[in-house]
């Protein structure tokens, strides 16, 4: 138990030290060089604002997080389902995949002002839409790759047992694709947060984080704006981290998770 603690300390200590040092250098530089508040506030001021305005900040952050989460769930589910359909039918695959891959290069964020026209400026739905579209394509491409990267012999084995396509999908394709699916989900968490906040920038309900950050910058409340950014980052990290934890739980069997030597 003690040695485990020590090993964990050895694992985490360097990163923790870099974090503390980074904050200290930041604080020192702002104070030492007298950097203007609108360029970069000191960390201590940001922390102070986080504490003082916690109610307003946290409700704004959670509002936008809910947008991101809803977009994530919708976009990733749709990506998975379409990938499953495409993986099953070769004709669909050849018809759709080139566009799905090409769509990865489209700066979908540019559509944010337009989704406002489609789904309304003040509601959550236009931000959910942009987050969902952002999540959709990476999820589709990753899942697709996972579902079709099953070794031929794995499929032949199941066919030798006269297993149905559905059984093969459930028992072989899905487990094989999990590392790819989780890669898609992890990318999705980041994109969903970006989509929701940037969506807010183009107009949204009062009380949404992106709207508030813009407003604070407009009235020179840079401490608040930075506190909002810090909170959005923290939520993004927690979001990503929860998917990473889910991955470890779902794939405890996988050599990469167990840290075993790859074959």
């Amino acid at each position: 138990m003690r040695s485990r603690l020590r090993r964990a300390a050895r694992e985490w200590l360097p990163a923790a030290l870099v974090f503390v040092a980074g904050i200290a250098i930041w604080e020192g530089a702002v104070r030492g060089f007298g950097i203007e508040n609108f360029l970069l506030p000191a960390p201590w001021d940001i922390i102070g604002t986080l504490v003082d305005d916690w109610g307003e900040l946290s409700s704004a952050a959670f509002f936008t997080f809910r947008e991101a989460l809803a977009g994530f769930v919708i976009g990733c589910s749709a990506g998975f389902l379409v990938a499953a359909a495409i993986a099953r039918f070769r004709l669909l695959r050849t018809a759709i995949m080139p566009y799905a891959i090409a769509a990865g290069a489209i700066p979908i964020i540019a559509f944010a002002p337009i989704t406002n026209n489609w789904f309304g400026v003040t509601g959550m739905s236009s931000k959910i839409a942009i987050a969902a579209i952002l999540c959709f394509f990476p999820m589709l491409v990753n899942t697709m790759k996972g579902l079709t990267s099953v070794p031929a012999s794995s499929i032949e084995l199941m066919r030798s047992y006269a297993a149905s396509e559905l059984t093969i999908f459930r028992r072989v394709r899905v487990p094989t694709s999990l590392p790819y699916v989780f890669a898609g989900l992890k990318v999705g968490t980041v994109l969903a947060m970006i989509g929701a906040i940037v969506g807010d920038y183009f107009g949204g309900s009062p009380g949404a984080l992106g709207v508030e950050i813009r407003r604070w910058v407009g009235i020179f409340a840079f401490d608040q704006a930075w506190a909002g950014i810090v909170l959005a980052s923290a939520l993004g990290i927690v979001f990503y981290g929860s998917v990473a934890v889910a991955e470890r739980l779902a794939m405890g069997w996988h050599p990469s998770v167990r840290g075993a030597r790859p074959e």
Partner: protein, 275 residues
């Protein structure tokens, strides 16, 4: 004779594409119950394809395939055979036990019966104590034993093996050869075994089917009349060497390139086939 044959192939031909490459040409073969038949031939002679035709994993272009007195398709649907590939094809997300039990799950056996059967099989392939391991924690030879246990789990009358020991080192291969013979005699099943190794074919089989270079045809059938049960001493018998020589000669007549026949000590690996 074909009434009692486990596998009966009549004029089986397989070609790819319209007017494309002919991989198998006019194959006629009967495999009787309890036989151990090896298919040997140069790379690309279609021996693995022939095995898959028997298992209804590849459809022949023409000809008739009868397995257990019914069509190959029906035999597959009835789960009449177990198959072992060159790779063990174990699922990493399942433990060793769960991998062995996979066919039993698909057949709807109840849990208690599954557990009992898996215990027997782990004993048969000498992997007691490894049931809850993950496949990647085992060596290549152990993985292949798990794969054999899985193929035997539902006691199929027919076992199809596609170069199961091809990726293993010589020592492991010889040990697993002896183990396989012991299992074959205990289970009384019929085996069709694809291999590149002449000594392996002779050591294991009751008959060795020598195939010719593409298009794959049966060039010769060598009856292996070595006494049963066979063991390490069998490999030292003069008759063993005579048979190895005979199979090698038949392979040469089948149009094998001279450069790929570098005879070693009673051992000839024809060539590595890309999986």
């Amino acid at each position: 004779m074909s009434e009692q044959a486990v596998v009966s192939l009549r004029n089986v031909t397989k070609s790819f594409g319209a007017g494309g490459v002919t991989e198998l040409q006019s194959i006629d073969l009967d495999v009787r119950p309890g036989e151990f038949v090896s298919l040997i031939g140069p790379s690309g002679c279609g021996k693995s394809t022939l095995l898959r035709v028997v298992g209804d994993l590849v459809e022949p272009s023409s000809g008739e395939v009868i397995v257990n007195g019914k069509s190959a398709r029906q035999a597959r649907r009835d789960r009449d055979y177990g198959i072992v590939f060159q790779d063990a094809v174990l699922y990493d997300w399942r433990t060793v036990e769960k991998n062995i039990a996979l066919p039993l799950e698909l057949l709807g056996w109840d849990k208690g019966r599954q557990t009992e059967r898996v215990r027997e099989l782990l004993e048969l392939v000498e992997l007691q104590g490894f049931g809850s391991h993950r496949p990647w924690q085992l060596s290549g030879g152990m993985q292949q034993r798990v794969s054999i246990a899985r193929a035997l789990s539902f006691a199929p009358a027919l076992l199809l093996m596609d170069e199961p020991f091809g990726a293993l080192d010589e020592m492991t291969r010889e040990r697993l050869n002896s183990e396989l013979l012991r299992i074959w005699q205990a289970s009384g099943s019929t085996v069709i075994f694809v291999t590149h190794s002449i000594s392996e074919a002779v050591f294991l089989s009751t008959r060795t089917v020598v195939m010719s270079r593409r298009p794959g045809r049966i060039a010769a059938i060598v009856d292996v009349d070595l006494a049963q049960p066979r063991n390490a001493d069998t490999r030292e018998e003069p008759r063993f060497f005579e048979l190895v020589t005979e199979v090698r000669d038949r392979l040469r007549e089948g149009g094998l390139d001279e450069e790929s026949t570098a005879p070693g000590e009673g051992e000839l690996v024809v060539s590595e086939e890309t999986p």
